[in-house]
């Protein structure tokens, strides 16, 4: 079994401990939705809406932002240095212990 633990702080400041599979080709946005956290995922994970934006609070390494993600974050609200799109973060064993925070919803 290769499940990992991911901590997600929601928009009310509450911390959620999620157990995530790494063998289901899942991304962070899908994980949050499966736990019924308020992540819209409007575009279904195509890096076209930024509703899954998170702030990454730990040093875990995953791929750099690709062009689509960069372009989306360029036009999104409340973007910080540590912003990433949840739908572009693929769950692998390297991410065990990661802590992210949901970005505020678009106005």
């Amino acid at each position: 079994m290769s499940d990992i633990n991911i901590k997600v702080t929601d928009r009310l400041g509450k911390e959620h401990d999620l157990l995530a599979p790494t063998d289901m080709n899942m991304n962070l946005m899908e994980l949050c939705k499966s736990y019924e956290l308020p992540v819209e995922g409007v575009c279904g994970g195509m890096a076209m809406c930024a509703s899954c934006q998170v702030y990454v609070h730990t040093d875990h390494h995953f791929g750099e932002r690709n062009d689509d993600e960069e372009a989306m974050l360029d036009e999104a609200y409340y973007v910080e240095e540590n912003s990433r799109l949840g739908c572009q973060i693929h769950l692998t064993t390297d991410l065990d212990g990661m802590h992210v925070e949901l970005a505020p919803e678009s106005p």
């Binding site: 409007v42 575009c43 195509m46 076209m48 809406c49 062009d67 689509d68 960069e70 372009a71 989306m72 360029d74 036009e75 609200y77 678009s106 106005p107």
Partner: protein
Amino acid sequence: MIKTDIIIVGAGPVGLFAVFEAGLMKLRCHLIDAIPQAGGQLSEIYPKKPIYDIPGYPSVLAGELVDKLMEQAEPFKPGFTLGERAETIEKQEDGSFIVTTAIGTQHHAPVVMIAGGLGSFEPRKPLIENLGDYENKGVNYIVKDPEQYEGQEIVISGGGDSALDWAVYFAERNGFVHLVHRSDRFRAHKDSVGKAYELEDAGKLKMYTFSEVKALEGNQELERVVIENKTEKTTIDTKLWFPLFGLSPKLGPIGDWGLEIEKNAIVVDTFDYQTNRPGIFAVGDVNTYPGKLKLILCGFHEATLAVQTAYKIINPDKKFTLKYTTVQGVQGFE
């Protein structure tokens, strides 16, 4: 007043297919959509993306699917009110409805089918305090009738195709364009970006990268726009600012139509996808029920079943027998 059998709110794939199914039962439809073209999310967000789960199509580009659905609906001569958001719905004494759009276009029908998807696409607005003071008084989120803006000095913000295409358009027509973007990477097509830089070299356009419009000034109408980057502020005298940051869907006025709403979706009865209000149906991504999947193919099925009950509402005295298209063909309207 536009009169029809079924008013379809939303001209996306499910709304378009509903026209076909309704047409097979000799019911006429008129579609309303907030954006100026049919196709919904497929045309607006991902026209060039392949979809792999449309029955019969191992792979089909979203935009092509919309073309096919338009072709399929064509024999039934649907009417379209595009570029106008459906705002209000009023029930009449006889149980029929009048749906009015944002600019007052009225539609009257015995049945309303809401195929609103994730909601109507609305422009992403910049976070500027006094923005509301200048909306439609210099600040515009869409470019309608571009001729009226030609030859002027204008400011455009954004990094996508919309911003770049319009910047190039106006710069090429005797105007001067200030193009403002938060970074130096553009979502827009490389060719459009290249053209913009060429126009800058030709003195018709100025690029402001790593910049944002931070303030608006003017008495009654927009007169000045303040652009800021990390180190400096630039004030531009202009009467026109187009923040073109793309569109995002919002349920909007449909949320106030007296329907049962759960998590931004309309609750329906899976017998016929009717809402809590008789005569109003909801199909596609906009509805919800136990087991709901937001798939286009599910919307197609829901529309087909909804049309059966719509027929009974519109023709209470007639019996209907299901005739396969292989038997009766498709008899379009004149």
